[in-house]
């Protein structure tokens, strides 16, 4: 029990650091693809230190400053509900559907905060993010339902348990179409191109973050760092069989890496196109996968 509590306190910090390193590596890898040298892999940690040390940050009100706080809190609680490296913390107290709803707390809190910022760019960013969410959530759910029906359970631990015993047991093989659909959805969940319309620095001045600076932006970086781990972690747990701590992070980085490669060479969809895209091809792929699972 003490060990669990210590792990529950230590783990988010570990995940934040690893997530920031992921982001740094992402910049490095993108730079290499662009034939640049790129920043050091710990660049994002420096960024966060700098952001937290900044003073005189603009503050539009209570909800505005609570937004990033809720964003971090919502991500930390989601993190505690997914088993990381065979170390379940609270996974017995909630299943995939609980997690899907916990994942929403963070963006919702942030959206409310952005709203008080009273910047139309922020609101447009949120509107785009929500539109995109309506797009990819359907795909994600189609895939998740397939997994739940295949495993006969919605509990992460049960799903991971059924995938034990080598690569051949991973759900990615029997549920290949669902995994593919989830991976396409993941591109938007991670906010990577071609689905980075909510942020789109060139169109709407980084959207939701437009009024956030200094420590607020630092908190949002931390939120993003945890979000990467949680979101890739869902894929790892559902389709790649979890794994021990190191393996888990290796797998999660592999998932992130795929998204990164696509990100590095892609332009951006118009938001309507992105929405339409999700409701056509990935949804169709997922539905075929779902029907196959339901029949067999």
């Amino acid at each position: 029990m003490t060990g669990q509590i210590l792990w529950a306190i230590f783990m988010p910090i570990l995940v934040i650091i690893i997530g920031l390193i992921y982001m740094g590596l992402a910049r490095k890898i993108t730079a290499r693809i662009h034939n640049r040298y790129g920043p050091p892999f710990y660049q994002n940690i420096i960024d966060v230190i700098k952001l937290f040390s900044k003073k005189d940050v603009a503050n539009h009100g209570v909800m505005f400053s609570l937004g990033p706080v809720i964003a971090v809190a919502g991500m930390v609680i989601s993190l505690l509900f997914i088993p990381i490296g065979n170390r379940p913390l609270l996974s017995f107290n909630g299943d995939i559907i609980v997690l899907l709803y916990l994942l929403v707390i963070a963006p919702l809190g942030m959206a409310l905060g952005v709203g008080e910022g009273a910047n139309p760019n922020g609101a447009i960013g949120i509107a785009r993010a929500l539109t995109l969410m309506l797009g990819y959530e359907v795909v994600l759910v189609i895939a998740a339902v397939a997994v739940m029906i295949h495993a006969g359970s919605a509990s992460f631990m049960e799903i991971i348990r059924q995938q034990q015993g080598g690569v051949a047991h991973w759900f990615i093989w029997p549920l290949f179409l669902s995994a593919l659909a989830t991976d396409i959805a993941l591109q938007a969940i991670l906010g990577e191109k071609p689905f980075d319309q909510p942020i789109a620095p060139h169109e709407i001045a980084s959207g939701p973050m437009v009024e956030y600076g200094g420590k607020f932006l630092g908190m949002l970086q931390i939120y993003h760092a945890i979000a990467i781990i949680v979101e890739t972690g869902i894929f790892v747990n559902l389709f790649l069989g979890g794994g021990s701590l190191v393996w888990w992070f290796v797998k999660s980085f592999a998932v992130f890496f795929v998204a990164l490669l696509i990100n590095a060479v892609m332009p951006r969809f118009r938001i309507g196109q992105a929405f339409k895209f999700y409701w056509t091809y990935p949804a169709a792929i997922g539905l075929v996968g779902l029907i196959i699972v339901a029949i067999t």
Binding site: K50, S53, K54, K55, D56, A58, S206
Partner: protein, 213 residues
């Protein structure tokens, strides 16, 4: 209140290693930035990244001459940035007007209106010079040398006065109260001069303005 000092130690190091820039793409300097960003010179090596809004940025780049119209926006953007914040002026236009030295509509000396930390000479400076400037700035920030925003805060009234000479600061300043006050002061002064105006007087005043602006 203790006198504010630029960050040193870990904070200063982090600040130096992670400069997020806000480009104010005026004049011809803007075109020198793409080479600095892309694979040839790659400023991201030093953690320098372009940012979309002043809220997120630490470093304001004034890339060339500033018309009075642009200056208003620049001042507002500068005042919206969080501290610590730095300003780099590109090219001779920001130093002394450059090739626009006799233009009626551009400002000649940027540091009358904003505290410039570093100038890059040249018309236009080449990317190498820009990278060199960034490196100087980073080194300086790490040692706590640059304190532009502190100067701006301490001499705010002076800066506002200078700004009020050429633009309506009431609309464009963040600190509306001070702006209102300074604006009234400057108007009062102007009114007095014109009241007792003889023709040479007005010329003299016009000259003073053109020196400033």
């Amino acid at each position: 209140m203790a006198k504010e000092r630029p960050p040193k130690g870990l904070k200063g190091w982090a600040q130096g290693r992670s400069l997020w820039i806000l480009q104010f793409c005026t004049g011809c300097g803007a075109v020198e930035l793409p080479p600095v960003m892309t694979s040839r010179y790659d400023m991201e090596r030093f953690g320098i990244t372009p940012m979309a809004t002043p809220r997120q940025a630490d470093l304001l780049l004034i890339t060339g001459y500033l018309t009075v119209k642009t200056l208003k926006r620049v001042i507002r953007s500068y005042e919206q940035m969080g501290e610590p914040k730095y300003v780099i002026g590109f090219g001779s236009c920001t130093v002394n007007g450059g090739m626009y030295w006799d233009s009626y509509n551009t400002i000649k000396r940027l540091d009358l209106y904003l505290p410039v930390d570093l100038y890059i000479a040249g018309c236009m400076p080449r990317p190498e010079a820009i990278i060199e400037a960034f490196n100087r700035l980073i080194e300086g920030i790490k040692q706590g040398k640059f304190n532009g925003w502190i100067r701006y805060k301490e001499n705010l009234r002076w800066y506002k006065r200078n700004q009020a000479m050429i633009m309506d600061i009431r609309k464009w300043s963040i600190d509306k109260k001070l702006a209102e006050e300074v604006w009234r002061e400057v108007q009062e002064e102007r009114r007095k001069i014109f009241e007792q105006a003889t023709v040479p007087h007005v010329y003299e005043y016009a000259e003073r303005i053109s020196e400033v602006g």
